[in-house]
Amino acid sequence: MGSALREALQMILSGSSLLGNIVVVTLRMSLASSLIALAAGVPLGVLYGSASFPGRKILLILNRTFMGFPPVVCGLLCYLMFSGVGPLRGLKLLYTVEGMIVAQVLLLIPIAAGMTESSVEAIAPAVKETCRGMGLNRRRTLTLIIRESRYQIVTIYILALGRALAEVGAVSIVGGAIAYKTNVMTTAIMNDTGSGDFKTALALGIILFLLYLVLTILSSALQGRMKR
C-alpha cells in the first residue's frame, strides 16, 4: 500500500497525459451528469413533495424504485438503444462521453427527485401556509420552497456527484472504456485489475478518493456559506 501511495503521487506529479485525460473525462462526465440530474430532479422532487395531484403516490413509489435501479441494467438498456443495430443508433452516442452522461442522468434523476421530495415534504406545509398568509403567488411559493431547501439540495448534489464518480456498471457498458476517450477512473481501475496492473489500479483508486474529497470540500464550503 505504501508503495502504491508513492506511485499515485508520482503519477499525479509526473502529469502523465493518460492520467490527465482519465481525470478530465471523469470530471466532465460526472459533473455534467450530476448537474443535469439536479436541474431535472429538484423541480420534480419539489413537485412530488409540495403539490397534490392524482397519481402522486404511484409516481412516488415508482420514483423510489428507480432510485435503486441497477446501473448495469441502465447501461444495458442504453447500450441496446445506442448500439449499431439499436433504434437510436442515429444519435451515435455509443462509446461517447455524451452517451455515458445520458445513462448516468437516467440513474441520477430519480435519486435527486426522491431526496428532494423527502426534504421538501418536511417544510412545504409551513412555507405554503406562510406564503398564503403573505398573499404570495404560486411561483413565489415554489421559489421560496427551493430557497428553503438549498442546504439539503447541496447535500443531494454531493450524493449525486459521488454516485456519478463511483459508478462503473453503466459507464463501462455504454462508454466501452476506450483509452483517451471514454475511459474514466472506475473503468480504468477495472481494466488495470483485469490486466494484473494492481499498482496503477490502486493509484487510480487513491486519486478518485482525493478527487471526491476535494469536490466535497468545495460543496461543503458553499453549503457553509448558505447557512450563515
Binding site: N21, G86, P87, K92, Y95, E98, I178, N191, G196, L222
Partner: protein, 379 residues
C-alpha cells in the same frame, strides 16, 4: 470565499461544455475529442511497468523464477497478508504446439445480416470499411509486422508476438484518412489490449495515416458480439472456432489480395502457470494435454477465466475429453471442488490463482506484466 467562486466557475464551465456537447449530439464533439486523443496518443504513454523491466527479464527465464520468487517471498511475508501478495505462481509449461495462440484480423462486412435485440433484421448499419481496410493493410504490411514482432523486447527482454510464417504481406497502397473514414472502431480481446501491443503499434499508424483508432476490449466472445451488433469496423481476436462462426454467419468480408476472411498474422504461446512446488508435477508432463490430465486427476485447484474469452476457449480444449469440459458453466458442475469458473479478466484470475496456489492458463504477456508489477509492489 475563494473555493466558492471556483466552484461556481467550474459549474458554469461544465454546464457550457455540456450544452455544446448536447447540441452537437455526438459527432462534432467526438471529432474534437478525437483530435485531442490523437495528439495525446502520439506522445505514446510510457507504461508504468517499464521500471520493473529488468526484473521481468530475469523472471522470464523459468529456472530463475523460483529463485527470484523465493527471495521475494522471504522478504515480504508480512506484506503478503495485506492482500497484494508476492507472486507464488510461475510458468511451469510453455511452447507446446497445442498452446499456440494465433491472432487474426477480420473486417466487418457492412452488408452483414445485422439483427436487433429482438432478432429483427436491421439495415443501414454504419461500418467504416475503408478505415478497417487501411488498418488491416498496415498491420499486415512489412512495417506493421516488423514493428509488431519487436514488441516486448524493451519491456520484457523478449518478443511477445511472432509473425506467422504464412502471414500475408501487404505491399500495396494504404489509404489515408478522409472525412468519413477517420474513426476506426477496433474490437479486440483483453489479452491483446493488456499486453500493450496496441499502445505500441497504433500511434505509429495514426500519425502516419491520420486515422483515429478507438479500441474497445473484452473477451473474444464479447468482442465478436460487439462486432455483430454493428459496434466495430474490424476485430482482432484469437479464437479460431468463434471466428469461423462469425465468418460463417456472414459478418466478415474478404478483402482483395487476401486468401480468406480470417487474416491470421501473429502468434504467441499460452503458458501454464502454477505454484512453484508444482504438486501435480506438470513440469514433467510430456505434453500440455498430459499436464492438464495430471491436474484433473489429482483434483488440484485450477482457475479458469470462465468468460468465453480466447484464453478460456483454448483452455477447454486442453482437458481430457472424457471430462466434457466446455465453455458452458454447466459443464463443470461436477468439478466445482477443484475447478474455479471465475468469469473475470486475466489479471484478476492470476491474482486468484496466486491466492489459492492454483494452476492457471494465461497468455504470456499478461503473466509477465503481473509478475513485473507484483515485484514492484513488494520492493
Amino acid at each position: 470565499m475563494k473555493e466558492n467562486k471556483m466552484k461556481r466557475v467550474m459549474a458554469f464551465l461544465m454546464a457550457g461544455l455540456l450544452a455544446a456537447g448536447v447540441c452537437a449530439c455526438g459527432s462534432s464533439a467526438a471529432d474534437s475529442s478525437a483530435s485531442s486523443a490523437a495528439s495525446a496518443a502520439a506522445s505514446k504513454p510510457q507504461s508504468t511497468v517499464s521500471a520493473a523491466g529488468s526484473s521481468a527479464a530475469v523472471l522470464a527465464e523459468s529456472s530463475a523464477v523460483s529463485e527470484a520468487i523465493s527471495a521475494a517471498e522471504s522478504q515480504t511475508v508480512s506484506e503478503a497478508a495485506g492482500g497484494v501478495g508476492s507472486v507464488g505462481i510461475q510458468i511451469l509449461y510453455e511452447k507446446d504446439d497445442d498452446m499456440k495462440n494465433t491472432y487474426s484480423l477480420e473486417a466487418v462486412n457492412p452488408d452483414a445480416p445485422f439483427k436487433d435485440a429482438d432478432s429483427n433484421p436491421v439495415d443501414g448499419v454504419a461500418i467504416n470499411s475503408e478505415g478497417a481496410k487501411a488498418l488491416i493493410h498496415w498491420l499486415t504490411s512489412e512495417e506493421g509486422e516488423k514493428l509488431g514482432a519487436s514488441y516486448g523486447k524493451e519491456k520484457f527482454g523478449e518478443s511477445l508476438f511472432t509473425v506467422l510464417e504464412k502471414a500475408p504481406v501487404y505491399k500495396g497502397e494504404i489509404a489515408k484518412a478522409e472525412e468519413g473514414t477517420k474513426t476506426i472502431r477496433l474490437s479486440t480481446t483483453t489479452s491483446v489490449n493488456d499486453s500493450g501491443l496496441l499502445d505500441y503499434l497504433l500511434p505509429v499508424f495514426e500519425k502516419e495515416y491520420g486515422y483515429d483508432v478507438e479500441v474497445a476490449s473484452a473477451g473474444t466472445g464479447k468482442a465478436i458480439a460487439a462486432a455483430e451488433a454493428g459496434n466495430a469496423d474490424l476485430i482482432l481476436v484469437h479464437s479460431k472456432k468463434q471466428e469461423e462462426a462469425f465468418i460463417e454467419a456472414g459478418y466478415s468480408m474478404k478483402l482483395d489480395g487476401y486468401d480468406a476472411e480470417r487474416i491470421s498474422f501473429m502468434y504467441n504461446y499460452f503458458v501454464l502457470c502454477g505454484p512453484s512446488d508444482d504438486p501435480a508435477k506438470v513440469r514433467e508432463a510430456a505434453t500440455v494435454k498430459d499436464a492438464f490430465k495430471k491436474i484433473a486427476d489429482g483434483k488440484y485447484p485450477f482457475v479458469s477465466r470462465g468468460d468465453k474469452s480466447g484464453t478460456h476457449s483454448k483452455e477447454v480444449t486442453l482437458w481430457p475429453e472424457d471430462l466434457g469440459i466446455t465453455t458452458d458453466q454447466e459443464s463443470i458442475a461436477n468439478y466445482t471442488d477443484w475447478y474455479n469458473y471465475s468469469n473475470a479478466g486475466m489479471g484478476a484470475c492470476l491474482m486468484m490463482a496466486n491466492e489459492k496456489n492454483a494452476y492457471i492458463l494465461s497468455d504470456k504477456a499478461t503473466f509477465l506484466t503481473f509478475v513485473a508489477n507484483e515485484g514492484n509492489v513488494e520492493s
